[in-house]
Amino acid sequence: MKAGRITSGFWLVAALLALWELSARLHWVDSPNWPALSQVLAALFHDIASGELPPLIGGTLWRMGAGLAAGSVAGVVVGLAFCLAPVTRMLLAPAVELLRPIPVPAVIPPLVLFLGLDDPMKITVVALTAFFPVLTNTMQGVAAVEAEAIQMGRTFGVGPLRRAAFIVLPATLPYALAGVRVALGLSLVVAVVAEMIAGEAGIGHYLVMMQFAGRAPEMYATIILLSVLGYALNRGFVAVERRAIHWWFALGRQADG
């Protein structure tokens, strides 16, 4: 059943890619901005083999990873603090709720002003993006922690900080990780967008250069590259998640979000 689903999904992708190739080859879509898939793949392999793309990919992944890590840690810490120390929630929740709906491109100009155009700005943009889904899921997770588990800690004389670290945090982890998984996809996109704005680094800058040079195959090569990277990152993350919270999957629970 499961194998069948994967196969039919694979065929859909293959059919779409074939349609792409044909639509360009047979001029169903006639534009210099619609190259054939084979040209795009040739450009992709050329720029990987020439050594141009690998360091750019590395740079983008580094910025994404650093931002994702910082944003996720902040999301978990603030989420725990909001739930376990209501004072912090009273102080910070309004600010957080006001920041949440702001689209990332809108915060880039002030970030450029304070952090410049290089990695600090780009990593911060990614961190801000990652923060909110992790925060929301962490708070959901804390709300779902069994009251008995916390009372159990109290009857053994375990202090509040230790209870937070050894009961609430591990119990919340499956929810927080579900948030990180959402943030992961967003982070890659946002890292590339930030690179497109300024500075000469990463896949985003490569994409802008290729747009301005009118090199459509390279542009689409970047898009394919991002799609493959995003897919691989998600698969890798799920594998890590299954190891880190094996008990959660053993209990047959599903973290939503």
Partner: protein, 319 residues
């Protein structure tokens, strides 16, 4: 912010002086310059490639921004020491009280066709003039910039009322598709996108907005901040000397393979396309007259306001 950055730079400089005096003799002044991936910045790249900046003790770090969106704001914020900017954006900033100064010319229109801007339409659309465009849609990469301004001047010059033409903002790379797809009736495009659009065979050129309206008119310049120039004038003297050597290098090789290869290298535009691309006139200086003409044109097309005397905006390196 500017001050903090500068202080950090000075601290860094001081520390390196103490620790490694031997190396310091060769240490280069780092300057970050905002550029756009267009043909106009060829002299800057030539000067980098030919070692003219290194010879002046300067290391250039270029930062490419699409459409120049972060250029002037980055200059104000102290992220850049110099910015390649089109004249309209610069003067609009000056009008709002920003202390921008022209530190070098960059590009002007040629005295006659071909020049780097072109008005394009679909083949067979029947549109030949600004008059034909009344009530129709024309695309510019940005409203209220030099491309739009020269485009409006062309509409008027060819008998149209620019107020009756609707401007749509479309980035250069997407203009050809928008035109072929019928989403706009004409576009004001820039090289090398003009050459790429003409390669499709479905698009034709109907006008040269710069050389037909104001031959040799001003286009883009390098801009610095007044306070920085006052304090660090000597650095900018060296910077301009190196850049102007690059201008000479480029002007000596107009239309020749070494220049086309250089442009193809930094812009990534395929070399075969470069052979069909029109180049601007590369300039070293900025004249009060060309700025006055620009301001006059801006006033005429709705960008009104009080602008300071043009001579006061031109730093000695651009005179």
């Amino acid at each position: 912010m500017t001050q903090a950055t500068r202080r950090a730079a000075l601290l860094g400089l001081g520390a390196s002086t103490l620790m490694a005096p031997a190396i310091n003799a060769q240490a280069l002044t780092k300057m970050r310059v905002s550029v756009i991936p267009v043909l106009d910045v060829a002299p800057l790249h030539a000067a980098i490639a030919q070692g003219f900046f290194a010879a002046e003790g300067i290391e250039i770090d270029t930062s490419t921004t699409a459409g120049g969106a972060t250029g002037l704001p980055g200059l104000i914020a102290g992220q850049f020491r110099a910015v390649f900017s089109n004249g309209v954006s610069t003067m609009l900033g000056v009008r709002e009280g920003q202390e921008f100064k022209f530190i070098s010319g960059a590009s002007r229109a040629t005295m006659g066709p071909p020049d780097i801007l072109a008005v394009l339409t679909r083949k067979g659309s029947g549109i030949r003039s600004g008059k034909d465009l009344e009530g129709k849609r024309i695309a510019s990469n940005t409203r209220n910039n030099i491309v739009w301004l020269r485009g409006m001047a062309w509409v008027e010059k060819t008998g149209g009322d620019w107020r009756k033409v609707t401007t749509v903002e479309i980035p250069f790379p997407q203009m050809a598709d928008a035109l072929i797809g019928g989403r706009v009736d004409a576009v004001i495009s820039s090289e090398p996108f003009v050459a790429a659009a003409l390669e499709t065979g479905q698009i034709e050129r109907i006008g040269w907005p710069m050389s037909e309206t104001q031959p040799g008119c001003t286009n883009a310049h390098y801009v610095g901040m007044g306070p920085d120039l006052a304090r660090n004038g000597e650095i900018f003297d060296r910077w301009a000397r190196a850049l102007h050597k690059g201008v000479d290098w480029v002007n000596e090789r107009l239309g020749q393979p070494p220049l086309l290869e250089l442009i193809s290298n930094f812009s990534r535009v395929p070399l075969e396309r470069m052979r069909n691309v029109a180049l601007p006139a590369y300039a070293k200086n900025v004249t009060p007259a060309e700025i006055d003409e620009l301001v006059g044109t801006m006033q005429r097309y709705g960008l009104t306001g009080r602008y300071p005397a043009s001579a006061s905006l031109i730093h000695k390196t651009a005179q």
